[in-house]
């Protein structure tokens, strides 16, 4: 660590204004790679998804994946960008063993999309506009695994393994313009931007954008300037910050670190920094003594990409509702607060709830299950809500069974549990476990009579007007019927039998 004494966040913000730049890489979910026909599927044996082109063998040539271009244009349009009428790929020349050609086929001064924006909503509902500089197409590198070192980094490793399955997977790099004016909310804006972008990418269906899988990676560039200063300060570039929380923490840490260096009269070095998940700190990577010279030049092996205007307009017509707009619409439809919506969002429950409602359940019921029982279960199992072995249709069916009176809340919970345990669809679970509300009035009546007889004191209280005391008798009946009674009906019966108005 170069700096141990951080300046407090409040003090840092009192003296300086943070300026951020966010660079996000998104792996597209195309079936094949950007410049060859190899599969992009994850989890295959090392180097099994390669060919002369993505291995950079002598003589092999690239061909542009049309689906990749389509995805890039749709992302550009969703970010309100201009779409280039004509643009080229460029070679970014640098050496690394996991890059087969020792140049990355990317775009340089002619990105396919440029000059856009993304409105992001902060937790209190405030909308902040993040300006987009550009979005361009490029290919991913292979993966190096360094063996024998303590840190997993190349230093100290005895040897390295190279897997080129990832080499050539299409990437879209989305770069913001300098984000100024966020002040103390800068880290929050950074997080909200990445979150919003992720939602957008998912809504477009161009990538699953799973950060934990490396399908979406973020670099946080940050600098500070004195309040009132025009010139930006020197920035640090924190690479591969790969969760929403980390994005916020990294920005916050860098603000405090920069302030500490500047307050001590030091200067910020332009450098790459690594983020550490454990303590939220960043440490120095390699120092950029001079700007790295990538010797960009137009890729002569590829013809220019010239998206026809009619096609671009056609794609504009396929854009889904923007996530922020959709969220606001749903929030109003569901009649819940910003805060509640935020929880739904954080739980990843929006789509399941919508799907459950579409399958016929009232939205409040759908929300109750997904945010309650199911969220708890997902949390326990450490999986995403959507990965639970239950479908929105099944949840909707359980809601329907409750609505028609076949199940009460407790039984519904058991039905859900059964579905999650793989016992079948809700109706099968109800059948197999015998989860039916006891609706036999005779049997129920007997149970009620017994409860009244067994608790004469309580019965007297109720008769005397303390209707609330009925709960104790309802509890006794439920216990006697092992929960399989409709509590509301039981209460009705008790009051009826004691001659009291409910």
């Amino acid at each position: 660590m170069t700096v141990t004494e951080l300046v407090s966040y409040e003090d840092a913000l009192a003296s300086y204004e943070p300026v951020m730049g966010l660079e996000v890489h998104v792996e597209l979910g195309t079936a094949t790679k950007m410049f060859c026909g190899c599969s992009t599927g994850l989890g295959a044996d090392a180097n099994s998804q390669t060919c002369p082109t993505c291995l950079g063998l002598p003589g092999a040539l690239p061909v542009v994946n049309a689906e990749g271009v389509r995805s890039a244009v749709r992302i550009g349009l969703a970010l309100h960008c201009e779409i280039a009428e004509w643009c080229r790929f460029a070679r970014k020349n640098y050496f690394y063993p996991d890059m087969p050609k020792n140049f990355q086929t990317s775009q340089y001064d002619e990105p396919i999309a440029f000059d856009g924006y993304l409105d992001v909503q902060l937790e209190d509902g405030e909308v902040f506009r993040v300006e987009i500089e550009r979005a361009h197409m490029e290919e991913d590198t292979g993966k190096s695994t360094h063996i024998g070192g303590a840190t997993g980094r190349i230093h100290g490793a005895s040897h390295s393994l190279l897997d080129y399955n990832r080499a050539g997977i299409p990437l879209i790099e989305i770069v913001t313009k300098p984000i100024v004016g966020a002040g103390e909310r800068a880290p929050e804006v950074a997080k909200a931007y990445v979150a919003e972008l992720r939602e957008l990418i998912k809504a477009l269906g161009v990538s699953e954008a799973r950060m934990e899988m490396g399908q979406m990676r973020c670099d946080v560039n940050l600098s500070l300037r004195q309040h009132g200063a025009e010139k930006f300060g020197t920035r640090s570039e924190t690479k591969n910050v790969n969760s929403l929380r980390s994005v916020e923490r990294a920005a916050r840490f860098e603000i405090q670190r920069h302030a500490a260096v500047l307050d001590a009269g030091g200067t910020i070095i332009q450098e790459t920094r690594h983020f550490h998940e454990d303590d939220g700190s960043t440490t120095s990577g390699r120092v950029k003594e001079e700007a790295e010279d990538y010797r960009y030049f137009p890729e002569p092996d590829l013809v220019p990409v010239a998206p026809p205007r009619e096609w671009v307009e056609e794609l504009r017509g396929t854009l889904p509702e923007l996530p922020r707009e959709r969220r606001n619409r749903l929030r109003e439809e569901w009649g819940i607060s910003e805060h509640e919506m935020e929880s739904v969002l954080n739980a990843g429950a929006v789509d399941p709830i919508v799907a459950t409602a579409e399958a016929g359940a009232p939205s409040d019921q759908a929300r109750k299950w997904w945010m309650g029982e199911l969220a708890r279960r997902a949390n326990e199992d450490g999986v995403a809500l959507e990965a639970l072995p239950i479908t929105p249709e099944q949840v909707a069916r359980v809601c329907a069974l409750v609505a028609e009176g076949s199940l009460n809340d407790k039984l519904a919970r058991q039905a859900i549990e059964g579905v999650l345990a793989g016992e079948g669809a809700p109706d099968e679970v109800v059948e197999k476990r015998g989860l039916k509300v006891v609706s036999d009035e005779g049997a129920l009546g007997t149970a009620v009579d017994e409860a009244i007889a067994g608790n004469p004191d309580v019965a007297e209280k109720i008769k005397g007007g303390k209707v609330a005391a009925a709960g104790a008798l309802v509890g006794a009946v439920m216990k006697a019927t092992r929960g399989q009674a409709d509590a509301a009906r039981v209460r009705e019966l008790i009051l009826e039998k004691l001659g009291v108005e409910g």
Binding site: P58, G59, A60, P97, N102
Partner: protein
């Protein structure tokens, strides 16, 4: 019995198709010729006897089964060692690829196989196609069959020498700045650089991607046309390949005609550095075209004088990036991997040992030309010159149908003469480079021997992009008129080896 190695490809194919000669006999005759002379010529880097004979047997079986044979079925061919061949070494004339056996065929290789052409082996070349003499090959130079102490041209000297030494009736070359045409000129053979994008570059090891173009080499215009039609055409694996029908070059070669044709002579293709005998034979060629009914138009293309400078910025720039992949990590040579060196050191040691001087020179030139702060002055300016050259050609082709020039300013120079003088070597391509920069099509064919040294002189014919058939129409007419005048092929005057 006819010497099968002296036949044209067209004649040999006819005999094979008619059953007068088997493909195996034709192949064996050429293998025997190689056996007899290649020690002196050194046209081949690698022979594939087994593969060649297997293919020949396949052709004979097809014929016996009554299958229709393609126009070049059973004809032997010498393949420049720049095209990948599955299971057969491909070195590009470089030590850095020594021992590499490609796992895939170039599109051109595949098309040759599909056309039942018999590939005899891989021919020598300047390392990575950088050179004009084949002296830059890591595996030793090739001799010019007209005079073994002289260069066979380059970079495709192995292919041109194989033709001139009657080791094969057909060969394939690649032309980035003249590597098909200049060797053709100095060996008295025919070579064509098709329109850029006319022949797929997939599997052709890249030197300079925006300039490289594969093309046919032969001893007659018709043979070149037959080969051209086999290898040309759109390839979905090469985005820069032209998605349009290939001009009917065979019909053009069978119907040579220049009557009424407007032929341009560009004044910038003359002057200092041009050998007197070369200019004399070129002058006679222009006169011949006039006699045959063409109208000769004098032209000026001022930007052509800057072609050499532009070329030596663009080609090295692209090559500095194209050759970056040779890092000892995945294939080819690896030096210093003994546990004491880092990956970076292994890469450096391998390149030091694996690349020759000319390759290193061009990689350094290109790296410099592309670097930040110099890009605009060098690479950027060169691209502007390239545009000017293209415009000069466009203006010229508004006035004329084809342009003619000497292919190269001098006849074959002695081995070693320019080996230490890169600038002198680069000048060998001064007439051919502008064509690559503009992406046009061009042919070199023999137009006589220079009186002062008795060595072949090449006539270059240049056509607009996509008009490759014009080369063959004009070339066939010129070839027929010259052979009528000489009473034989020019190569018949070459000394026997």
């Amino acid at each position: 019995m006819t010497d099968l190695t002296r036949l044209s490809a067209a004649a040999l194919a006819e005999k094979i198709a008619a059953g007068e000669v088997t493909a195996v006999e034709a192949t064996e005759a050429h293998l025997a010729r190689i056996e007899a002379v290649d020690e002196k010529v050194h046209a081949f880097l690698h022979l594939d006897r087994e593969g060649a004979l297997a293919k020949a047997r396949e052709v004979d079986a097809k014929r016996e089964a009554g299958e229709r044979l393609g126009p070049l079925a059973g004809v032997p061919l010498a393949l420049k060692d720049i095209f990948t061949t599955e299971g057969i070494p491909t070195t590009v004339g470089s030590k850095i690829l020594e021992g590499w056996v490609p796992p895939y065929d170039a599109t051109v290789t595949r098309k040759l196989k599909e056309a039942d052409v018999v590939v005899l082996g891989k021919t020598n070349m300047d390392e990575f196609a950088m050179g004009s003499s084949t002296e830059n090959s890591a595996f030793g130079p090739t001799g010019n069959p007209w005079d073994l102490t002289r260069i066979p041209g380059g970079s495709g000297g192995g292919s041109s020498a194989a033709l001139a030494a009657f080791e094969a009736p057909l060969a394939l070359g690649t032309d980035t700045g003249g590597s098909i045409r200049q060797p053709a000129a100095v060996t008295g053979t025919v070579g064509v650089k098709p329109t850029y994008g006319g022949v797929s570059r997939y599997g052709m090891v890249a030197f300079s991607s925006s300039l490289d173009q594969g093309g046919p080499c032969a001893r007659t215009v018709l043979d070149a046309a037959l080969l051209h039609s086999v290898i040309a055409g759109h390839d979905e694996r090469d985005s820069t390949s032209i998605d349009a029908p290939v001009p009917d070059v065979v019909a053009a070669a069978r119907n040579g005609e220049v009557r009424g044709l407007r032929v341009g002579v560009v004044q910038e293709f003359s002057g200092e550095g041009y050998q007197a005998g070369v200019m004399q034979r070129f002058g006679e060629s222009v006169e011949l075209l006039r006699e045959l009914g063409a109208e000769v138009v004098e032209l000026s293309c001022p930007s052509f004088t800057k072609a050499l400078a532009a070329y030596y910025l663009i080609a090295p720039s692209e090559c500095s990036s194209n050759l970056a992949r040779f890092d000892a990590m995945r294939y080819g040579l690896r030096v210093g991997d003994d546990g004491t060196h880092s990956a970076e050191e292994v890469t450096a040691l391998t390149r030091e040992a694996g690349f020759g001087d000319e390759v290193k020179r061009r990689v350094m030139l290109g790296t410099y030309a592309l670097s930040s702060g110099y890009y605009d002055a060098y690479y950027g300016s060169a691209q502007k010159v390239r545009t000017l050259i293209t415009r000069d050609f466009e203006r010229a082709f508004a006035q004329v149908d084809v342009i003619v020039s000497p292919t190269t300013p001098t006849t074959a120079f002695p081995l070693g003469e320019r080996a230490d003088d890169p600038m002198a070597m680069y000048l060998a391509d001064v007439c051919t480079l502008p064509v690559n920069l503009a992406g046009n099509a061009a042919m070199s064919l023999p137009c006589g021997l220079a009186p002062e040294d008795g060595l072949p002189v090449g006539l270059q014919i240049i056509a607009p992009a996509m008009a490759d058939d014009r080369l063959y129409r004009v070339g066939a007419a010129v070839e027929a008129a010259f052979e009528a005048r000489w009473g034989h092929q020019l190569l018949d005057e070459a000394p026997s080896l």
